[in-house]
Amino acid sequence: MKKVIDETGFNRTLTRLAHEILEKNKGAENLALIGIRTRGEFLAKRLREVIWTIENLELKIGILDITLYRDDLKEIHYQPLLKGTEIDFDINKKDVILIDDVLFTGRTVRAALDELVDLGRPSSIQLAVLIDRGHRELPIRADFVGKNLPTSLNEEVKVAMKEIDSEDSVYLKTLNIGGE
């Protein structure tokens, strides 16, 4: 297991992402942050803090549980626990920043987009991820990327966050061949 981002790097990356989001959107007025459970939710909260320190503006924040939109419910061996989507504001005409920890096949983002579209009609949806590890299976790209991390398929990217793990960091782990 190899640490690819440490705590300092983690915070620096978040700050850069916040700046890029603000720059591209020319400010924060119409932005809303929506994180995909589980770590996307915490990343969204962190980004809100950073943006508050920069712009002194508290953004609306939502949590997306994409379980009901997954296309692999039949194939997975365990049944994921439904925790629910929590978005207590109207996303219509908002510029939604969709946030997740790792962009991989693109299927999670596909599910999230489908769900967002069911929830309303935002002006735009932009995707922000901490890590893009490649290997896309769908035509999806991120608008904001913390770090591009070239990986092979037998590697796993593990994002640790203080909210549920003991530290802020990103690890790259090589899986045993023949493992899942």
Binding site: I76, Q79, G84, L119
Partner: protein, 306 residues
């Protein structure tokens, strides 16, 4: 997290964990029901057959909405019990339908044990939508959900089921579910409509509505089936209303906060006064809404169980 059984045939023997999982999952679907588009693609490609041998419009609509909101393909089959007695057997009917490649069957049937029987003769996942006066688990689950929504807990509450307990489709499932979740349970009704040895299920029995109201936090008022009158269970609807109907003055006399539930359809001013049904104590319409969410939760948990 998965349910222990691949069918939902009843609440007897269902663990507290499983009931909790269903109720928690239903919370998510309550949120889905508040969305502009009240539909998720979760059960896309699954075919669900609603096999109704008794007309129960509400239960069928509630299940059908739940199924469609999960994007399942839905087929309705309705027949009456008399056709079952004469014509094709349940086994043949079910096997024929199953041969058309279906995934789940939601069945309403007049005979106790019919859902269990069905689970033995076909392979699909079975959800019992009422088997005679045996079990009706989703109704009890939606009642539990509604009680929990109101009080934030179920344990320790005094819940009294009022009316025709013997012929009720919902009493037994409610008793099992409430017991598992730690509530205190009572029934109240004419002695002729309370089945023998019910107390052995850990149920208190009242024959006086005033005592029941005094005791209860929640009254779950059952529909009095008008067509039962010829069987001499009680002399007249008038007498029933006088002694067993839940009315505002009977509640006000005791002057306490009480929650009124009813599985519907209500005979207004027979078992329940109209002002109570529509009043502040009533959570009857929440029950209906929660019914869809709870059924979505059950369909989701059983339909995606690997």
């Amino acid at each position: 997290m998965s349910l222990e059984n691949r069918h939902l045939l009843g609440l007897e023997g269902v663990s507290k964990n499983d009931i909790q999982l269903i109720l928690d999952t239903a919370e998510t679907f309550r949120e889905v029901l508040e969305r502009p588009i009240k539909k998720v693609p979760t059960l896309q490609g699954k075919t669900i057959v609603n096999l109704f041998f008794e007309s129960s419009t509400r239960t069928r609509i509630s299940f059908e909405l739940a199924e469609r909101r999960l994007s399942a393909d839905v087929v309705n089959f309705s027949a009456d019990m008399s056709s079952l007695k004469k014509g094709e057997t349940l086994k043949d009917t079910a096997r024929n339908i199953e041969a058309m490649k279906i995934d789940m069957v939601v069945m309403r049937h007049g005979a106790p044990g019919a859902a269990l029987f069905l689970s033995k003769v076909i392979n699909s996942v079975i959800i019992n939508a009422g088997d005679g006066s045996h079990e009706h688990p989703t109704q009890a689950l939606l009642d539990l959900y509604s009680i929990r929504e109101k009080y934030n807990h179920i344990e320790g509450l005094n819940v009294c089921i009022v009316g025709d307990i013997s012929h009720s489709r919902v009493a037994l499932s409610n008793i099992h579910g409430l017991k598992t979740m730690g509530a205190n349970i009572a029934v109240c009704g004419p002695a002729t409509l309370i089945p023998r040895e019910l107390d052995r299920l850990g149920v208190k029995i009242f024959n006086r509505i005033d005592e029941a109201i005094e005791w209860a936090n929640v009254l779950n008022v059952l529909r009095i089936q008008l067509e039962r009158q010829d069987k001499s269970f009680f002399p007249s609807l008038g007498e029933y209303r006088k002694y067993f109907a839940v009315t505002k003055d009977k509640i006000q006399k005791i002057n306490k906060n009480i929650t009124i539930m009813h599985p519907g359809p209500i005979n207004r001013d027979v078992e329940l006064s109209a002002d109570l049904a529509d009043g502040e104590h009533s959570i009857i319409l929440q029950q209906v809404l929660n019914g869809v969410a709870v059924r979505m939760a059950v369909l989701y948990l059983l339909g995606t169980r690997s």
